[in-house]
């Protein structure tokens, strides 16, 4: 092989490697952006459904307050947590903060549901039964939306932690996203 051919070979090899590395960056970056967008889209679904839930609870609370079977402290908690949720959404709170508030809200609402299901005389009140049906419906939607969100987070986190994406994900501003939990924050006990 002549000297010219050797140089040409080296140039072609370097250009080839640069093109492949460049392609790698583009593919990786686009895939991380796509998965991040999916996570954000699923997060907005959860937020929308909680807005619906908070609205339904606003209509349900005056109904259930008429019945002494429901714990007054539970209803007070729900009222306070509704306000906290609306304030957190308005202030663009972090996913962790929203998740914590919603866990407390869900725990209190489930208390109301348990009480409702324990008393047949409450179930016979058609209006309340319909509101409870709406709460069940929105809970199912939330459960589904949380599942979709957590699956999207798992996919995104797997993507940015896998080689070779993990080498440059941080420099592009991609970091691991938090799952949406349903447990109460550590050490917290439901105040009843």
């Amino acid at each position: 092989m002549s000297v010219i051919n050797k140089r040409m070979f080296a140039v072609i090899l370097i250009v080839g490697i640069l093109v492949v590395v460049g392609l790698l960056f583009i593919v990786s970056y686009n895939s991380m952006v796509g998965k991040s967008q999916t996570v954000d889209q699923n997060l907005s679904q959860i937020k929308n459904r909680y807005v619906t839930k908070v609205t339904i609870l606003g209509e349900l609370l005056p109904q259930v307050q008429q019945y002494q079977q429901f714990e007054a402290s539970t209803l007070t908690n729900i009222t306070a947590l509704r306000s906290q949720w609306m304030s957190a959404i308005a202030n663009n709170a972090s996913t962790e903060e929203l998740s914590n508030i919603s866990s407390r809200l869900d725990a209190n609402v489930s208390r109301v549901m348990v009480t409702f299901e324990a008393y047949p005389e409450l179930q016979s009140v058609a209006l309340m039964a319909q509101y409870m049906g709406q709460v069940v419906d929105v809970n199912e939607q939330l459960s589904y939306a949380r599942g979709q969100y957590n699956a999207a987070v798992r996919d995104y986190n797997t993507n940015i932690m896998s080689f070779p994406n993990n080498m440059f994900a941080g420099s592009f501003g991609f970091s691991a996203k938090q799952y949406w939990g349903t447990d109460l924050p550590d050490g917290e006990v439901l105040n009843l």
């Binding site: 092989m1 050797k6 080839g16 790698l24 319909q130 419906d137 896998s162």
Partner: protein, 244 residues
């Protein structure tokens, strides 16, 4: 090995490595997809795999669901099983809905009613496009009026039938599809206009002549094979559930 050959081998190996690297990124950096092979495929509107429905009710429901789809494109599916195993009726119903894509693609206007008889539990899953019409409050009303009283008295077939009728009528009265039903056709039950009908007849005749009648066998299999399945609708997970 001379230098030329060695350089060629190095270049080939470098290229192979680069291709493998890009391929690895494209293939392995996503979390593994969920295996849905255990989820049943349903083709009919009414799928009674536990023998709960009276044959007459099952037939009437099948016809009713077909009418609803023809009327405004909403798809209603009923699935009754003996057990959903360890999955539970809730997740089972959601997976059946997702796998079968009940409802029209883009309209997401499907409804699935699943009953697991041994677990004494049922679940309604609504498509994202009709969850406002068939909201939890409305479904609870139907449940209290039609489903619960009949399930409590052991009239399972009647309860399910009336409940699904109520769901279907709610959709017929309140869901208006853009581009769905409402268009009139020369022959009511064939959704083709005059020129499409003429073309279909011409193709049929050509096929019949060209194949010396063997096309009859081929066309016959369409009618023997049942429905073609559902349309690709998605759910938001909403609906209703209960026990009996």
């Amino acid at each position: 090995m001379d230098r030329g050959k060695r350089n060629a081998v190095i270049a080939a190996l470098a290229f192979l490595f680069a291709v493998l690297l890009v391929g690895t990124i494209l293939v392995t950096v996503s979390a593994p997809k969920e295996d849905l092979s255990w989820v049943p495929t349903i083709d009919d509107y009414v799928n009674d795999r536990a023998g709960v429905l009276d044959p007459g009710d099952a037939y009437d429901l099948e016809m009713f669901c077909e009418e609803v789809e023809f009327n405004n494109t909403c798809q209603i599916a009923v699935l009754i099983v003996n057990s959903t195993g360890a999955v539970g009726v809730n997740d089972y119903a959601l997976k059946v809905f997702e796998k079968n894509g009940i409802g029209q693609e883009g309209k997401d206007n499907g409804v699935l009613f699943v009953m697991s008889f041994d677990e004494r539990a049922w679940r309604v899953v609504t498509g994202a496009g009709i969850s406002d019409i068939l909201n939890g409050g409305r479904l609870t009303e139907f449940q209290l009026t039609y489903l619960d009283p009949n399930l409590e008295s052991g009239n399972y077939s009647k309860g399910i039938t009336l409940f699904v009728y109520a769901i279907g009528l709610e959709l017929v009265n309140n869901y208006h599809s853009s581009g769905g039903g409402g268009e009139s056709y020369p022959i009511d039950f064939i959704p083709l206009n005059w020129w499409q009908l003429g073309l279909a007849i011409a193709v049929f005749l050509v096929l019949m002549v060209a194949t010396r009648g063997r096309a009859f066998l081929w066309i016959g299999s369409i009618f023997l094979g049942g429905r073609g399945g559902f349309g690709g609708g998605r759910t938001g997970g909403g609906g209703s559930r209960g026990r009996f």
